[in-house]
């Protein structure tokens, strides 16, 4: 089976302003060589803290911003080699859902127009067919027909995210990339939206790339998980393997830092020391070594590769994975 989407050695550099007005630009390596693959119908979760490059990866995979290195293939074909028509099809089949549905919905358009627009752009259906499809989508995401003529500001956050989901589904995508889709929502609404995403994924057999900093949400929705730190994947594998038996100290620290409502899960670990280093000046060797409780001299000089550890498909970039309790 060919994978739906694959990233090989994907890199992204940004030019960052130097110290003064005339100082030379510095290079910020936002994504420093990422390999990923996503199979049809599968959910891959990407987690990491702010600045780790997870949102940049999403934008690279959708072709929204150009790569600095590596390549992205969709159904086996290099994005860079697609013709105009093929690129249009790719843009139709790969849809995004954003964190803040308010800033990603045009405030001057009615919901009916917002939902029909992707179909208009991709030249799908007659006007009557598009209207039918919009009615179907409204019903599918749990909105009422009488809300079609309303504007985005008339909806609550959860309802706006429903509109964002309906818009992504309008053109029958094969893959949805969701960047923090529930992070801005109230707790009682979060569960509704997670359920809706799970339902449409199953019904339509969609591939899902789910990006969030919330590991409890990620555990719930993901088949496989990749953990990012300073522009690189430091651990990947099945959701259960990565979260139950982390092989990278950063994953272990992230898990320990999550406050839990379950008294049995409450591990009173000391919080991981130190702060996330600036991507402008990443540490030598392993990028996590200044904060790592297991680091040795080797970690300061030699950057570990992402390699398979003691279970098939479970990879970690750590010289001393065996020091972590299994």
């Amino acid at each position: 089976m060919t994978d739906l989407l694959r990233a090989e050695g994907v890199e992204k550099q940004f030019a960052a302003r130097g110290g003064g007005m005339f100082a030379p630009h510095q290079r910020l390596m936002a994504v420093a060589g990422v390999d990923l693959e996503l199979n049809p119908g599968e959910t891959l979760g990407i987690a990491g803290e702010s600045g780790c490059g997870k949102s940049t990866v999403a934008r690279l995979l959708t072709g929204l911003i150009p790569l600095s290195g590596g390549r992205v293939t969709y159904q086996g074909r290099d994005l860079a080699a697609l013709s105009r028509a093929e690129m249009a099809l790719f843009r139709r089949e790969v849809q995004m859902i954003f964190q803040d549905p308010f800033s990603s919905l045009n405030p001057r358009m009615r919901v009916s127009e917002i939902l029909a627009e992707p179909m208009v752009i991709h030249g799908i259906g007659t006007e009557a067919q598009r209207r039918d499809r919009v009615d179907f989508l409204m019903n599918r995401v749990g909105l009422l027909p009488e809300q079609l003529s309303r504007f985005p500001h008339e909806f609550s956050g959860g309802q706006r995210q429903r509109i964002g989901i309906a818009r992504a589904l309008a053109v029958s995508p094969k893959l949805i990339i969701a960047d923090e889709p529930v992070s801005a929502l109230d707790l009682s609404i979060q569960a509704q939206i997670i359920n809706l995403l799970q339902e449409v994924k199953r019904e339509l057999g969609l591939g899902f790339l789910f990006i969030t900093h919330d590991l409890s949400v990620l555990r719930h929705v993901s088949d496989r998980i990749a953990i990012m730190y300073l522009g690189r994947i430091v651990e990947s594998g099945s959701a259960e393997e990565v979260l139950e038996h982390p092989r990278h100290p950063y994953t272990e620290a992230l898990l320990a830092a999550i406050p839990s409502v379950d008294p049995k899960k409450r591990r009173k670990h000391a919080a991981p020391k130190g702060e996330i280093p600036s991507p402008l000046a990443p540490p030598s060797g392993c990028p996590f070594h200044p904060r790592c409780p297991y680091a040795e001299e080797r970690c300061r000089v030699e950057r570990p590769d992402l390699v398979e550890k003691d279970r098939p498909g479970h990879r970690a970039a750590c010289h001393f994975s065996e020091k972590l309790p299994r």
Binding site: E49, L187, S188, H213, S260, R266, I276
Partner: protein
């Protein structure tokens, strides 16, 4: 005597659409050395409760009834001058976003020292010395050098430490922390919460922790109060609340957490949306979303019921 005792606090906003009851008949107590968690979704009134304690309710909001006893003195009866002596000095606040609550054109040193000069009458040199000491206490490395930095030169986690330093500089008896770690990454969040806990142990201050994160509540708070649409729906010692929730809203919140479900399984949900309640609406604020509500709930605003052991619940059906 409790450190803080709020009784029957109501704060209303006169809006063109009607009277918005942002805070309605709220009772809360905080003891010395205790952490009280105030939990609720956006618009539930938790931040307006905090603003009411500080007497900083933004217009057109107004405290319409109740009392706020701080060491036995009703803050609502004090003159503005007297209140200013308490604000920032004996009751301090920590906000969610340190970038907007630190002044970008003053150095960290000037801002931390300001309160010490105004309230403690220290001179510039003494205040700077004290500021450096406080920054060291909250875990800022090389504090003396950082005094000259401006807020934008620090990371989000460090700015939040500075905010905590400013709040604690005058050794307040009560600190209100409004979503103090929501803008921070989870590893930095853990550091800041541990810092707050440690400082609370050292100074025996009372802490009101406002948050929507139930994990933080479960791990850090002695007592927890759940707010919904302006009212406290349930309050109890934290362990009791999580082990034995009585209010349908609390139960719904806990059930909807992905952490409490099997991976991939459908999550339990609370139907509907968070309401905005205007005056004139009788009955229980949660009735439209409640799985067990009936006609009686639409007619009567439920009184707080004492279920024993300090467990209070505002629900007509929860104690049959």
């Amino acid at each position: 005597m409790a450190l803080l005792e709020i009784k029957g606090l109501s704060t209303h906003f006169s809006l063109p659409r009607g009277i918005l009851k942002a805070v309605e008949r709220v009772d809360l107590t905080v003891e010395r050395g205790e952490t009280l968690a105030l939990v609720g979704e956006s618009g539930s009134g938790k931040s307006i409760t905090a603003a009411s304690i500080m007497r900083l309710v933004p217009p057109p909001g107004r405290i319409v009834s109740g009392s706020i006893l701080f060491e036995g003195v009703d803050l609502l009866q004090l003159s503005e001058d007297k209140m200013r002596e308490i604000r920032g000095n004996r009751i301090a606040m920590i906000f969610q976003d340190p970038m907007t609550s630190l002044n970008p054109v003053f150095t960290i040193g000037e801002q931390v020292a300001e309160g010490l000069r105004i309230h403690r009458g220290l001179n510039r040199a003494q205040a700077e010395e004290a500021a450096a000491e406080i920054l060291a206490q909250v875990g800022i490395p090389a504090p003396r050098e950082r005094l000259k930095d401006y807020p934008h030169q620090m990371s989000g986690g460090q700015r939040q430490r500075v905010m905590i330093a400013m709040a604690l500089a005058l050794r307040p008896e009560l600190v209100i922390a409004d979503e103090p770690t929501t803008a921070l990454d989870v590893t930095i969040q853990a550091q800041i919460l541990e810092l707050l806990d440690r400082l609370k142990e050292e100074t025996r201050m009372g802490l009101i922790l406002i948050t929507h994160n139930l994990g933080i509540v479960a791990e850090r708070a002695h007592r927890t109060a759940i707010m919904y649409a302006g009212s406290i729906m349930e309050s109890a010692p934290t362990e009791e609340l999580f082990a034995n929730p009585l209010h349908p809203y609390t139960k719904g919140l806990l059930a909807s957490l992905p952490e409490n479900a099997k991976p991939g399984q459908e999550l339990a949900t609370i139907s509907g949306n968070v309401p905005v309640l205007y005056g004139g609406t009788a009955g229980c604020p949660f009735r439209d979303r409640c799985p067990i509500g009936d006609a009686g709930c639409a007619a009567t605003y439920p009184e707080m019921h004492d279920a024993g052991g300090g467990h209070l619940v505002r629900c007509l059906k929860a104690h049959d």
